[in-house]
């Protein structure tokens, strides 16, 4: 499959400059097609050939995520995303403010390129791999004016209000209806890194609303194979459809049989919610 990379404009911030550096590096050393985000916006037909059947990587410098926003606005499928500011944070490096990349910045570019190569080698392309049908039957917990829905079958939960749905050796994880209603309108989603290997109860994303913050703690151990990039620009999907379009991450399972011992089925989780709702009331 052809591969293409679209960085953000990367003009006036150090992170953006590094996004651009990474894209140029991928073009020069790996033959990836380079997509200019502004030209794509002005003249999408210009890139018809480059993007046809291509796997597109979007590289944003800062959390404004201009390139991701433009891809979404144009309805272009994105196979993978990388956010330089997040990569710097994860690596614990300070790239400074210079618009001329220094050694620390270029080392970060090296590390990002290596990570992308490792993902490709491991067969992690960031794309959801399994079709998960939405739940059709729910248990409900009613408390005061609130009604919390819990899929009656096919989902398991941890006590941190996160769910997992397993198909073969793959799993999809998300947060429960109780979690989203407790947070109220979710305004920000920060995904985890594709390819990350996590233990059970490790963080696989975080959410923010005007009312609170929530770390999404994985109900299972394994490797993150995809994240729901749609949530970056539309975190409200978690409120609207927490068990469907609001999924958080997809994972390749490592030891589900052991993980299961610490998970709750729908009936047990209903009782947990009843307890939490009562506690919140007092």
């Amino acid at each position: 499959m052809k591969r293409a990379v679209m960085p953000c404009n990367g003009l006036d911030k150090a992170y953006g400059v590094l996004a651009r550096e990474l894209a140029l590096r991928l073009m020069e050393t790996e033959g990836m097609h380079l997509i200019c985000p502004v030209l794509l916006n002005n003249s999408p037909v210009r890139y018809d050939k480059d993007l046809a059947d291509a796997s597109l990587l979007v590289v944003d410098g800062c959390p404004t995520r201009c390139a991701s926003k433009l891809a979404q606005k144009l309805g272009i499928a994105v196979a993978g995303k990388m956010l330089v500011s997040e990569q710097a944070k994860t690596a614990g490096v300070d790239v400074g403010e210079s618009l001329r990349p220094g050694p620390v910045g270029m080392q970060l570019v090296d590390a990002m390129q290596a990570e992308l190569a490792a993902q490709a080698q491991a067969g992690v392309d960031g794309q959801p791999a399994v079709d998960f049908d939405p739940p059709t039957r729910f248990l409900t917990v009613t408390y005061d004016k609130f009604v919390f829905k819990i899929p009656a079958e096919g989902y398991l939960f941890n006590e941190n209000d996160c769910w997992v749905r397993v198909v073969g050796n793959r799993a999809r994880v998300g947060v429960s209806d109780f979690a989203q209603q407790s947070m109220t309108d979710i305004t920000y989603f920060e995904p985890t890194r594709i390819g990350a290997v996590v233990e059970q109860f490790d963080e696989v994303g975080s959410l923010e609303s005007g009312k609170s913050m929530m770390d999404v703690l994985s109900p299972v151990s394994g490797r993150v194979t995809a994240v729901n990039t749609e949530l970056v620009d539309s975190p409200e999907l978690i409120n609207e459809d927490p068990y469907g379009r609001g999924w958080i991450a997809e994972m390749e399972l490592r030891d589900f049989e052991s993980d299961k011992a610490l998970l709750l089925d729908a009936a047990s989780y209903s009782r947990t919610i009843e307890g939490k709702a009562a506690q919140a009331q007092h």
Partner: protein, 132 residues
Amino acid sequence: MIPNGNGKKTIVIPCSGIGKVQGLIAREAAYAAAAAGGGELLCLALLVSGDEEAVSRIRDAECITIDGCPKLCAVKNVEATGGTVAKSIQVIDVLKNHRGAELGTATKLADAGWAVAHEIAQDINHCESEVK
């Protein structure tokens, strides 16, 4: 940001400038102009993606756009967003006076490429000082 003679500020906006040597010249010219006091930089993709703060900034300013190729992404988008383009520079026009020059590549400018970038920056700064 520098207020010009109209009391407005000057913002220098190059095209995204990726993938072509002319785009890189536009970008480097913008850096050089800004460094010499010719205005403040603004990221074009920020404007195109509809960032409210960026849109507000150009509406209160006079913009100098630098385009690498004939697609004219910078001037078109600034105008489409409601900005005033005080000066529009097209690198390909400047290059008519540098026919045959070895400019470099989309990732690295050669000496002649740097010379063109600095020529454009000087033009911007001259324009800026005239307006003041």
